[in-house]
């Protein structure tokens, strides 16, 4: 067992586990898009980046891959981290504005504007489907092709795959295609519907502990 500090709280973790696993176990919220606990960590969405102080220097690490080490201090929501995460999300929403997963995250993080030209794509290249197909379904019918801007997930040679069983696992796990955000009025904007709702709890019961997945409204109120 190793002992480390997450957001000021001393926690114990099994050797070999990642910061993200430990943080989630103890209830610290670190946003992720390309992570799934049953799949190999991929480290591509960069939302799970946290600040780690290892006694010598402070650096940003990918929490879904970084092993929990003895004595390190982890900050899951430092200013640098939160600012970067918001910008990453802004980039992703500019790419796929209609994803409910992304729009919900945006509301939670308090993202209020997208400053880039909006596109209308339906894949954020998180690779969940690729890993799902290979690792869980034992199929390997899809993978990435192309580099950089041309990167996409397809079947080999873009022809219907002979080994695909149409199981739908790729669609089930996809954070973009399955859940479309219905709050977006025109297909090219930030929804933020959740931000508009101000729950009574915040006004009336200031000390209430919210047991639901936070809608983010309380955070917004504090900031303003």
């Amino acid at each position: 067992m190793v002992t480390l500090t997450i957001d000021g709280v001393k926690v114990q973790a099994e050797e070999g586990s990642t910061i993200l696993e430990v943080a989630r176990f103890y209830g610290f919220n670190i946003p992720t898009l390309c992570y799934h606990e049953e799949l190999t960590p991929y480290g591509a969405c960069r939302l799970c980046v946290v600040e780690v102080h290892d006694g010598r220097r402070i650096r940003l690490v990918t929490s879904c891959l970084y092993p929990a080490k003895e004595g390190i201090q982890v900050k899951t929501h430092s200013q640098r981290v939160v600012k970067g995460r918001k910008l990453i999300l802004e980039l992703l929403i500019a790419r796929c504005p209609n994803s409910k997963t992304l729009q919900d995250l945006a509301s939670k993080m308090g993202l209020e504007q997208v400053r880039f030209k909006m596109e209308d794509k339906d894949c954020i290249l998180c690779g969940l489907c690729v890993r799902m197909c290979t690792e869980q379904m034992g199929s390997g019918a899809i993978d990435f092709v192309g580099r950089g801007q041309e990167r996409e997930v397809v079947t080999p040679f873009r022809v219907p795959s002979e080994i695909c069983r149409n199981c739908g696992a790729c669609m089930y796990i996809c954070p973009v295609v399955e859940l479309q955000c219905r709050g977006v009025k025109s297909p090219r904007e930030l929804c933020n519907s959740c931000l508009v709702i101000t729950p009574h709890c915040v006004d009336k019961y200031d000390q209430v502990m919210c047991t639901l997945d936070s809608c983010g409204a309380c955070v917004q109120k504090e900031e303003k």
Binding site: C45, V61, L91, R147, Q149
Partner: protein
């Protein structure tokens, strides 16, 4: 013939030296890529034919060598034993050289280098200012030996370090020597080589690998290429010593397919080393077997990054992974792997031969030895240079590079390729080493050094490199894939005069995020050009955004060509060439350009003999 002991190697070298007549003329023609492009193969052929033709009574060695470094003046020919340095030699010059220099020992004056400072002709390579200011160690034998002949390498003392290392030094002692020398990875990262070797040797595992990284992909860099082409055995020797010290039985050289000559020379070198027993079983009689294979890279820039390179060798897609477990512990096929740049490997024989103290004597406090740069851009002397660490940029650009082309004003120098930053004039006294360049917002990188003059638009430079990086990004992580794309989008808007002030702030914010959040080295260094130009050339960005002006006159959407009435003679040279028929005017009367038709190609300005066409 397999060489199994040091004595045999020394005897072979002595016999080679004895059989070599020191007074015998030797023509050394550079056939490296730069000179080859200027026709050095024809020059070489012409020498062979001419010597046959005029050959009675003289005995001449004609040798093809690798890059001499002074690519600007190619094809370069050096004639020993007097070491006469001829530059810009054409096949039709050859008969005169043969009849005068080889037969009579006279010098062909017009082929000598003219020193612009003293206006005097220079006889030897060592007297040329370009070479005089350099300290050539790794490149020392580049222009001396035939890269395809192992005996040439043995004659200059080759494989002696290997013999010394295996027969007289323990693995521990070799690693200690490398550590003590202070050698740092010359591929750009600058990680202490000795420490890396030690970690790899001490890592758990029975099988280990050594890899030489020759996947140089920066635009404007050619140092790895020149070394692989000119002296492949020095890289092999270093790699073999390293493999012995670390305990590896298999080595790989990862070289991009775009370097056919380097691949050819390396393959020849490997075959020859096997023939002489420097590779294979029981090297120098020790219990040490090693094989080295060449892996050809497909040309992806990101494959120069260690984890992507390893994936590429494994046959997977060349994509980086997050490296919280280092390659030295779990690299190629999850085995301990030591990866160094080919230049770093070529340093090893020098260190073993001359000792750690000799190496550590040169350089700065934290960076020892020499650095190799491909000096290109708007300098008078482009070429491959080697200088001690800590040499100032000013010395490199003005003393070695001979200053800026056409006497123009210096504006910036970009080091480290697309991942590096642009360093302005006020930092020209900066001593060049890993740490100081990083502090200035640039990096050493693969050793590219691009000099830019006043006619360069820094915003456009940043746009060019972002465009390169967008194309070369593997696309795995969001900051690099989406971030670089958006940075390019913003900067393209700026160069087109479409951007407002907020975009500049967004650009800065985005650049900082990409630097912090990207997965691999490519992504993390990709905004360096943007950040450094934003820092040092803010005025230029402001002029583009606020005044919609490109002060350097480069960005097409922000400039206008016009004709100076008092200078134009109405010769019509521009009018005939204009592809848009935007120029009007009667013969012998001043012409005018119709800005609505002009698409700013600049053909007219180049064609005007009176410098009457200006840009505003």
């Amino acid at each position: 013939m397999k060489i199994r002991t040091n004595q045999v190697l020394v005897a072979l070298r002595n016999s080679l030296l004895e059989n070599k007549d020191p007074n015998k003329p030797c023509v050394r023609v550079c056939v490296s890529t730069g000179c080859r492009a200027r026709g050095s193969l024809d020059v070489l052929e012409a020498f062979r034919e001419e010597v046959m033709k005029q050959g009675s009574g003289i005995d001449v060695d004609i040798k093809q060598t690798g890059c001499h470094g002074f690519c600007e003046r190619g094809p370069v020919v050096v004639i020993g034993p007097k070491e006469i340095f001829y530059q810009g030699v054409k096949p039709y010059d050859v008969p005169e050289v043969v009849s005068k220099t080889l037969h009579k020992g006279e010098v062909v004056d017009r082929l000598l280098y003219l020193d612009p400072a003293t206006n005097q002709k220079v006889l030897c390579e060592t007297e040329v200012p370009f070479y005089r200011m350099q300290t050539r160690r790794i490149l020392a034998n580049n222009g001396r030996i035939d890269p395809t002949n192992i005996l040439d390498y043995i004659t200059v003392g080759g494989y002696q370090a290997l013999a010394k290392a295996i027969t007289t030094m323990s693995c521990e002692k070799i690693i200690h020597t490398v550590e003590k020398s202070g050698l740092r990875g010359l591929g750009g990262g600058g990680f202490p080589t000795g420490r890396k070797w030690r970690s790899c040797r001490e890592a758990e595992g029975d099988i280990r690998f050594v890899i030489g990284n020759g996947d140089e992909g920066d635009p404007g860099a050619f140092s790895d290429r020149s070394l692989m082409e000119a002296n492949p055995h020095s890289i092999l020797e270093g790699l073999i010593i390293g493999a012995y010290a670390i305990g590896a039985k298999q080595g790989y050289l990862y070289v991009r397919s775009e370097y056919p000559l380097a691949l050819k020379h390396l393959q020849i070198a490997i075959d020859q080393a096997k023939e002489y027993g420097f590779l294979g079983d029981a090297i120098f009689g020790a219990e040490f077997d090693l094989d080295i294979d060449i892996i050809r890279g497909g040309g992806a820039f990101v494959c120069g990054e260690s984890s992507a390179l390893v994936a590429s060798i494994e046959g997977k897609v060349g994509e980086p992974r997050t490296k919280y477990i280092h390659t030295v512990e779990r690299g190629l096929w999850n085995k301990p792997t030591n990866l160094n740049n080919v230049k770093t490997w070529a340093c090893i024989p020098l260190i073993v031969n001359n000792g750690a103290d000799w190496y550590a004597k040169m350089g700065t406090e934290k960076c020892k030895g020499t650095a190799i740069f491909s000096l290109v851009g708007k300098v008078n002397n482009t070429g491959l240079i080697e200088v001690p660490m800590g040499t100032s940029l000013k010395q490199i650009i003005y003393d070695i590079g001979g200053g800026i082309l056409e006497g123009k004003k210096f504006k910036a120098v970009q080091t480290g390729g697309p991942s590096g930053g642009c360093i302005p004039e006020e930092l020209l006294d900066l001593p060049v080493d890993f740490d100081r360049l990083t502090e200035a917002g640039s990096m050493m990188g693969s050793g590219g050094m691009i000099v830019m003059d006043e006619a360069t638009c820094m915003v456009d430079v940043a746009r060019y490199f972002l465009d390169f990086l967008q194309y070369e990004s593997c696309g795995k992580c969001v900051p690099c894939r989406e971030g670089v794309k958006r940075m390019l989008e913003i900067i393209t808007d700026i160069t087109a005069g479409r951007a407002e002030k907020e975009k500049l702030e967004l650009l800065q914010e985005l650049a900082e995020m990409v630097k912090d959040f990207s997965l691999c080295g490519l992504g993390r260094t990709s905004p360096n050009t943007v950040l450094s130009t934003l820092k040092y050339f803010q005025d230029e960005y402001r002029a583009h955004v606020k005044d919609k002006k490109c002060t350097a006159g480069v960005c097409k959407d922000l400039i206008e060509y016009f004709i100076l009435e008092n200078k134009c003679t109405g010769c019509g040279a521009c009018l005939k060439l204009c592809p848009q028929q935007a120029i009007r005017g009667r013969p012998k009367n001043p012409h005018t350009i119709d800005p609505s038709k002009c698409f700013r190609c600049g053909v007219c300005r180049d064609a005007c003999p009176f410098e009457a066409i200006m840009v505003k």
